[in-house]
Structures are given as C-alpha cells and as structure tokens.
C-alpha cells in the first residue's frame, strides 16, 4: 500500500451523473477488485473507489457517481488534466483467487458504478469465464459494454426498453435462472445485494459461492 499525489490524466463524462476519473499510475500495485481512497489535496476528506482499470493498465481509472451535495465527487468531476488528487491504497479483499480462474465460472452481478471491480477482474484475469449482469436505469449507463466479450454482458435497465433486458437484475435472474456451479460476486447497493442473495439461495446456490461488497 502507498499514498501520494497523482496527476489527473482526464475526466470523461459518461452520463450526467457519472464520470470516469483517469490518473497517472506511478508505481502503484494492486490486486484486481481492490479499492483506493481518493481525495482532493488539502481538503482532508476522502472516499473509497474501486479500480475500474486493470492491473496491467498504465493509468488508474475509477468510475465515480456524482453525489448531489457530496463533498468529494462533485469536486472530482471538475478536475482538469494536470490537477492532482491524493490517492491511498490499495485496500480490500473483494478479489478473486487466481487459482480458481481456470476451473470455475464467475457471475458478476452489480448495479451502477458497482460494475467497476468486475471490469477490473475481466481486464486483469486472462481466461476468466464470466458473465456480467449489470443493473442501471438507462442504457447509457452500460459503461464500456464493448470491453466485454460477446454475450458476456447483460444490461438490465429499469427505465429503458433498448436495454438487453428491461427490468431489474432480480427480474432478469428470475426469468434466467443462474447456474448452480458458478461463483457469484455481488457489488452495488445493499437492497440489490439482499434481493439477489435471496434468489441465489432459493436456487440452492451455496452461501459459500456468494461474495458481496456494498457500494454506497
């Protein structure tokens, strides 16, 4: 783990309330799925964000949802290339044991920016057999969907009929029963996690196959 100032490479707006923050990587090392604490210099306030970029990328990238009235995210959104942010990390155990990759399939179920660690998994772990079920409100929140192999990404949008599936991720799972043998990673808001957990357990999927991380 390390801490220090990192230069901003870019802030890319993805939707009205979500953006991608790209930072110089420097000598940071991390495991896919880990998070960093990010704050503006000298503000004495930071927040945790999971890495969206892979362990192989030259830059660090984070998906940030702008919180109305928030103390960190609205300020991050206004950053310009060349500005600096404070970065601490990496932390966390929401990771995949690489030894499991060759012989297991993985289901990644997330909402909103909760897809960040899954994007990092996919880009960091070659040979990963995965499927992503991503819940959003609109299809324009299906960030970088073409980064995923054909048929491995399903966007479930509640307010958009153009999505792969119109409805919540829970609705999708009810009509598309998930396989019993997969390992499940859930990331996003707690209500989604609770509901999905119940569906998986009702399918007799063992609790030992379900790993969760709550996002605000």
């Amino acid at each position: 783990m390390r801490r220090g100032l990192h230069k901003v490479i870019g802030v890319d707006l993805l939707t009205d309330h979500t953006f991608s923050l790209r930072l110089e990587r420097k000598d940071v090392t991390f495991l896919a799925g880990q998070c960093f604490n990010i704050g503006l210099p000298d503000t004495a306030v930071n927040r945790e964000y999971s890495s969206y970029s892979s362990v192989f990328d030259d830059e660090l990238q984070f998906l940030v949802r702008e919180i109305e009235g928030g103390q960190v995210s609205p300020k991050l959104k206004l950053l310009k290339p060349g500005d600096s942010v404070e970065v601490d990390g990496a932390y966390g155990l929401f990771t995949i044991d690489p030894e499991l990759v060759p012989n297991h399939s993985f289901y990644f179920i997330g909402t909103g920016t909760g897809i960040a660690p899954f994007h990092c998994f996919v880009k960091s772990l070659p040979g990963l057999d995965y499927k992503i079920i991503h819940g959003t409100r609109y299809v324009n929140e299906a960030y970088n969907r073409f980064d995923y192999s054909n048929g491995r990404y399903i966007n479930c949008a509640t307010h958009d009929k153009m999505a792969d599936f119109n409805g919540r991720v829970t609705d999708y799972l009810l009509v598309n029963p998930p396989p019993r043998a997969a390992i499940y990673y859930l990331c996003g808001n707690r209500n989604m996690i609770n509901d999905v957990y119940d569906i998986l357990r009702e399918r007799d999927i063992s609790s030992s196959q379900i790993i969760t991380e709550v996002f605000f």
């Binding site: 604490n37 704050g39 004495a44 932390y91 707690r190 996690i193 379900i210």
Partner: protein, 511 residues
C-alpha cells in the same frame, strides 16, 4: 423454549472484571465500564418478539459474582445458552461451557463472536459447545436458528441455515457454508431497553458526560471502511450493512422522550458520513431533539467528515467523537491500512473542536515494528494535540493481535508472537517481539495518560470555560473528576504488564 444470552462475570486474580461485548476488545478493569452488547441485545429483543422466553443474563452489568451467576443460570435451566467469544476469554468460555454442560446436559450451547467465527472447529473440539455461529449478524441467524431447533428435534442433521458449524455427534462437525454478509438491518428490531435492563449500563461508562447514557442500535454493522489490519471488522468474509437514517432517528426520539436519556452513543465501527450524516443531523434538528439536553456521539475516521457536516452535527448537539489516531508516523499508518494522511489530522480535529465537539483519540502502541523514533513521534504529536485543545480526551491501548485479524495473522506468519496462550491476549501486556524494549512502550503509555495532569492541558481546559458552553463546564467539573479515577485505572492496567512481561529471548535491552 427458554434462551439465555449470557455474559459471565470474568474476574481476574486482581479483582478486575473483563468487559466482553461486541462493541470492544476485552480489557480487565477495576473500575468497570458496562457496555451494552448491541447486536446480542437485538437478538434478545427479536427472540422475545417471536415469543421465546429470553433471559438477558449479563452477570457483569447485573453485579453478580461468578458463583452467583453460575448458580442462577443452572437454576433457570435454559434450553439454549448463547455466549460471545473473543480471544482472551476463549479458555474461560470453554471451561465454563464444560462445567455447565455437566450439570445441564440437555442444554444447547451456542458460541458467537469474532474469535470463534474464524476458528469454529477449535471451539467445537476444545469444549462441549454444540454450535458455533460464523456470522457477525447474530440477531438474524439466532432468530432463524432457535425456531428451527424448537421445531426440529433432528436439527443437528437437518439444519442447513447458512453460517453455522454444528456438532452432529461426538465425532462429527458439520459446516453449513459461508454466512450471509449483508443483512437488511431495518428488519432487526431496535433494542428492547426494558428486556436488557438498560439502566445497568447507563451510568458506569467513562465516555458519558451526562447520565443516564445509552448505546443506540448501531447504524452500521460492522464498519464501512473495514480495512484496518488490527480490527476485527476486517476480513474477506465481512462487508457492512446500514440502517436507514429515519429508523435510527425514531429510536433516538424514543430514548430521549420515553427513557429520559441524556447521552446517546452509537458504537458502529464507523458512523454515517457525508449525505447520511447530514440527513441524520437535519432529522435531529427537525424533530427538536437537539434542544432536549441530550448529547450524541459516535466513532469516525479521519477524512470521513468535512467541515460543513461537522458544524451541522455540532448544531444538532453532537458532542463526543471517538476517532482512531493509531500512530503519528506514515509507515505505521500505511502498514495498518488506515487510509488517512497525518497531514490532515490537525485540520479535522480543529474543525471538530472549533465546532464545540469533544474529540476523543484512541491511540495504540507496541506494534511489532514500532521503533523509538516512531513511538516518540506519536507521544509528541498526541501531546501537541491535547495541549492545543484539538482533542479533549484520549485512551491508549497496547496493540494486541486478536480474533485472527489480518494483524494477528501477520504476527503469526512473522513469528513475532511471544505466546500462544489465549489468556495472555488480554491487552494488559505486550505479547509481540519488538525492536525496542517493551518498557519504552509502557513509558509512552504513562506519558500519554499523564497529559491529563499536565498544567498545559489543565490550563487549556480552563480556557475552554470562556466559551461559556455548558458542556465545557461539565467537562471540567463533572467529567474531569471521573476521568482522573479512570485515567489512574487505565495507567495501572496498561503498565502493570511491565512486571508480567512474557520473556523474549531476543529482546533488545534498554540503553
């Protein structure tokens, strides 16, 4: 079915009581602090709502001797007895379980807590415990498990509720898999204050400036950050769950209006931050609870709360803010995964003290890598903060590996543990090899607690009186007297270990 949730009085040979509860690590104190074990209290409340007969059996808070507690429990003949474990009291619990099982052979013994959840087989092998709960969500699991046991005589074979280790028979232990990491906390009831006899916990707590005080039902379980290596709220099996703001506000309103509570502390690993913290403060103000003469307090982390939120909390009559300042050197903070930078500590504390909050620092010494220079930095920094009034109170603990946290596992891997006897893990003495003599850490403890009696600190407290805030006068004249008693107690407790040190054959000697 009769269920006892039991906390035996654990008294050491110096007459000190062990304070065991989910809210803190075990420490033995002569002047006790009675802490309500919040999650177990929720479990008791929920079981009662499900119409089970519940015995809230806290022998410590109920001022029982061990023998009295033991005899009363035997007389009550519960069908189920639930204990809460942590490393330094494991051996005591195993002995107690076996002694009770001899007299109550049909009673089912359930062990909960952060030690046994990480080593369930150990407790099942070394005692006659029947079930170990691997979940931190004791309330959610117990309220499924007890009805199952009540309705299924063959529960040892048929119970598949997740997160349990069950003794099937004399030779077979069965795991029911991983526990559910996230639970909807709003479904667990708020603590039934009468059931847990809340007044037993309302006065003997050094952190209350006014009494009766109480612990709120925690809004976060366990910790939103959950990455600090020494903390039990860290592990691949843990994330956190959140209680909605309105539900917590409802409880505060009841505690103030119906129970006359004068100080409420939320012992969540880390309380709300950002939007939720502001919503909570606005809710307190909107309901007029900030004008009822009740103070509020919580645990937080550096770099979680901004100036605007802190000022709003102060307006809502928040007072006590417990905040971890584990060390004052970057290397230690980095190794502990603390996630904040020293350069921001002063500013955060200044926001709090300027707003009228009373920051309470929790400091640790005795990390297995801690050098004289690092230790001195910590002592000097803490003194500087206290003399300048940036923090009001502090507590110092000897960093003790516990409950198989990452720090504990690191100590094992690096072969720095001086003992594997769990009884030695009671935070009364250093149990790791260190680069400098242990006496230097004990001296640091004395020096930091000694701040309370330093003229510069006392002068600073007198200057606070000029603010003419009621809480500052209370602090000096009420809390101050109480604090002196407790500071002496802490100093004795944390430095007596100097004479009880576990020998380290490779220990460096004093210069």
């Amino acid at each position: 079915m009769k269920v006892a949730i039991s906390y035996p009085p654990i008294v050491n040979d110096r007459g000190q009581k062990a304070m065991v509860s989910q809210n803190r690590n075990v420490q033995f104190f002569k002047t006790p602090t009675y802490l309500l074990p919040v999650v177990h209290a929720q479990a008791a409340t929920w079981l009662k709502q499900l119409r089970f007969e519940v015995i809230w059996d806290d022998g410590n808070a109920q001022l029982k001797s061990y023998d009295q507690w033991f005899n009363d429990l035997v007389k009550a003949k519960p069908d189920v007895i639930i204990f809460e474990s942590t490393t330094p009291v494991m051996k005591f619990y195993w002995r107690t379980t076996d002694a009770l099982k001899k007299i109550l052979p049909n009673t089912i013994f359930i062990m909960t807590g952060y030690h046994s959840m990480r080593r369930p087989e150990e407790t099942l092998e070394l005692s006659q415990t029947d079930i170990v709960l691997r979940s931190n969500h004791v309330d959610f699991v117990i309220t499924k498990l007890i009805p199952f046991i009540a309705n299924n005589p063959d529960w040892r074979i048929t119970c598949n509720l997740e997160g349990l280790a069950i003794r099937e028979d004399a030779s077979k232990i069965r795991s029911t898999g991983h526990f559910r990491q996230v639970e909807p906390l709003e479904r667990s009831p708020m603590v039934d204050r009468d059931l847990v006899q809340w007044k037993n916990y309302a006065f003997e707590n050094g952190n209350y400036l006014q009494t009766p005080g109480t612990y709120a039902t925690s809004v976060i379980r366990d910790c939103m950050f959950g990455k600090c290596t020494f903390c039990r709220y860290n592990g691949p099996d843990l994330t956190f769950s959140v209680l909605p703001v309105e539900k917590s506000l409802d409880e505060y309103e009841r505690l103030i209006n119906e129970h006359g509570v004068k100080e409420i502390f939320d012992d969540s690993g880390v309380w709300y931050r950002g939007k939720e913290a502001r919503e909570f403060a606005h809710g307190i103000i909107k309901r007029g609870l900030h004008k009822k003469g009740c103070y509020f307090g919580f645990n937080t982390r550096f770099e979680y709360l901004d100036k605007e939120t802190i000022e709003l909390l102060a307006e809502a009559n928040f007072r006590f803010v417990l905040i971890g300042l584990e060390a004052a050197d970057e290397e230690t903070l980095t190794r502990l995964n603390k996630g904040y930078q020293l350069q921001h500590v002063e500013r955060s504390l200044k926001w709090m003290s300027d707003a009228g909050l009373h920051p309470h620092l929790t400091i640790m010494v005795g990390y297995y890598w801690q050098t004289s220079e690092q230790l001195k930095k910590t002592v000097d920094f803490v003194k500087s903060l206290m003399f300048r009034g940036l923090a009001r109170t502090l507590q110092v603990t000897l960093c003790t590996p516990l409950d198989y946290t990452p720090y504990h596992q690191e100590c094992i891997q690096n072969k720095v543990l001086l003992t594997d006897n769990y009884d030695d893990f009671d935070m009364s003495k250093l149990i790791v090899k260190t680069p400098i003599p242990h006496s230097e850490y004990y001296q640091a403890v004395r020096e930091m607690y000694g701040i309370a009696f330093h003229p510069l600190f006392l002068l600073r407290q007198l200057r606070f009186l000029l603010t003419f805030k009621r809480r500052d006068w209370q602090f000096l004249f009420t809390y101050g007297i109480r604090a002196i008693r407790r500071v002496r107690n802490h100093m004795f407790n944390l430095t007596r270990g100097e004479g009880l040190a576990i020998p380290d054959p490779e220990a460096p000697t004093s210069l």
